[in-house]
Symmetry: C2
Subunit: 385 residues, 2 copies
């Protein structure tokens, strides 16, 4: 496929502006139907739910859309594919020659452009779906002329801000940004996805278009994508600055992006009663940030006093970039659980990073990756009734 | 500077072969003189020493050669610059068509080639010196034709093995390898250094040529470089397989490469007596792997019960790649120490990785990055004598 060159029409483009909504002005009546029994629902409006863990692990290595976690900040927008425009802007500096904020030069793409003008690539990324769409680096290069040379000063110092076509109460819309370096890294695998698991995105998962930033915290993978701006500073969105910059004491600190190493026991669950005297297979997943592999997973059945490596870890690198964006599924057979057993799991990534025993970074409670614990599992033999 | 194209002479090159030495055959009589008072010497032969920590931190942000740590596995070779040849080989697969081990095709460079044919770049990398020499990616591309496209299958799956022109008792020579992807990454900053802090390398630090692999454990930055082989598997050297593969239970696990996040208190030291009633400035350094920044450093003066962020952290990214290869220097003023005080420090990197409280990955004791502790510091007012 020939590299696509965006045709600069020289018309002046002004994308629509959202504005912050009052709580009472947010209309949830058009939210899509959901299979609530698959989820532990944390809040109905905005809809925030995580799958029941045994269901998550038992769906196989690819999570179906109706089991995949759902995290929202407002009503799900009701967007028609044929009406949707994606605006791409570039702001070449903070200020112009007069000291005023530098202007953003805008271009516009429709969904047909997005879906036909650049090669469609497919990546598997946590929390574990197959996503397809064009590479963000290809679009930014051909539409607004971002250089592809990783050493270029713009790549080193700029960011790409994303804005959703939605309404929320905290800001004009959901917004976030990632370093331009991540966006342009040929091994970074950032894509604009219009398909999840081989089908068009569902509304809950960002229809018609969302960003997928593998190896980064989920808050950067903006749904209902409407605007992207290449700019010299991070996004000033509430969701970038206030909710994920864990340490406001240091203004110079970048917001968090890459995930840290995490590990979860999916089965058995807290207080589960296992009616069998057979060995129990403990299962779960682990994932690290930045495309790093899961190197080791250890399980304790005595609350963390003694540890053994798990029996099996399966993790597949991306077939093109070779990066470990996908989760590792692990399991371990345990011969006998005691009723007072506390199961604890911890993982190490390929850079020797490991999970801490206790959550110790808790300015805002994000990125807590302390050892995962499951308590009060009771195993007893099954008698004839 | 025009990209240099290596002139393939088509002659058959056979690099010299080393062989494993008995302990009694290792001759240390030609080791260079050293300023022993700067060091805590762990072993005289092979010479292994680390600088006294207050000296390390008080030398400024760049460590002089005679304070920089020294780690060896045998006698320091006595190499003449004008006699030294670097051999570069490529093995295109594991086996040839007959099922025999695939041959290595060799090329040879002298030090004049290394020092004049490719642009000289300079990086600052832990444990903190300024290193200069050509980029390894430039050499591998022009000498043995390694593709520069990061998505190329060879880049994803191959390794570069390094061998030193030295003699050790564990193997034929010191050897190690890194993934070819790290070597070819334009932001990876792997260089072949012939200068340290603006002067030719000293013999203790690898004269005439060494590899510098920023963001990786020091064991990969091979000194006295004599051979490099691009090959489909990791180095089979003792120093790659046995001493840094922490978990021999899993053959499929790669050896460790990237460093994890570490932090050290350089001053005060264990059992130091501070004759002053003034506030004490605690100082140290922190560093993470993979070019990640140090995001936060916290100090406890009560053995880890309560924590405060330090007052100041200074870390400078590489001016070209923007990666954080250099250490972060931090300090915090403490108003009063108690004689029973235990100082503890811990750091977090920009991916949210943090140090664990206790060393928990100890198959071989490598990459222990538990919280660093300084005990029994005594502060008392200075009286007139």
């Amino acid at each position: 496929m020939e590299p696509y060159t965006y045709n600069n029409t020289h018309e002046s483009i002004h994308p629509p502006q959202h504005c912050k909504k009052e709580l009472c002005d947010l209309d949830y009546s058009q939210d899509p139907p959901r299979i609530l029994s698959n989820y532990l629902v944390h809040a109905p409006r905005p809809f925030n739910a995580e799958p029941h863990l045994p269901l998550l692990i038992n769906s196989g290595s690819i999570t179906p859309e109706d089991v995949f976690f759902k995290r929202n900040h407002g009503p799900i927008p009701n967007i028609q594919l044929e009406d949707h425009t994606v605006y791409i802007g570039i702001q070449r500096g903070l200020h112009d020659n007069q000291g005023q904020p530098a202007p953003v030069e805008w271009k516009a793409l429709d969904m047909n452009d997005i879906m036909t003008k650049w090669p469609k690539v497919t990546i598997t990324a946590s929390l574990q779906a197959v996503w397809s769409g064009p590479r963000l680096c290809d679009i930014l290069h051909s539409v607004v002329g971002v250089p592809q040379e990783l050493h270029h000063e713009m790549i080193r110092n700029f960011h790409v801000a994303f804005e959703a076509d939605d309404h929320v109460k905290e800001d004009a819309c959901y917004g976030s940004s990632i370093p331009l370096r991540k966006a342009m890294d040929p091994l970074g695998d950032v894509i604009l996805a219009y398909e999840m698991n081989g089908k068009p995105l569902t509304r809950d998962h960002g229809y018609p278009l969302r960003v997928i930033v593998p190896g980064y915290i989920g808050a950067r993978s903006v749904k209902f994508l409407q605007k992207m701006i290449v700019q010299p500073q991070e996004s000033s969105s509430f969701f970038q600055v206030d909710s994920t910059n864990v340490d406001s004491a240091w203004d110079s600190s970048p917001s968090l992006g890459e995930m840290n190493v995490q590990c979860v026991i999916c089965t058995p669950m807290d207080k589960e009663v296992i009616l069998s005297s057979q060995p129990v297979t403990v299962k779960g997943y682990a994932i690290a940030g930045g495309g790093r592999a899961i190197y080791r997973v250890e399980l304790s059945i005595d609350g963390g006093k003694t540890w053994e490596p798990v029996d099996k870890i399966e993790q597949t690198p991306d077939r093109v970039s070779g990066m470990y964006w996908a989760w590792a599924l692990w399991e371990k057979e345990v011969s006998k659980l005691h009723t007072t057993s506390q199961l604890v799991v911890r993982a190490y990534d390929s850079s020797g990073n490991m999970q801490p025993e206790f959550p110790i970074w808790n300015y805002r409670g994000v990125m807590n990756n302390a050892w995962f614990r499951v308590s009060n599992v009771i195993q007893m033999p099954q008698h004839n009734m």
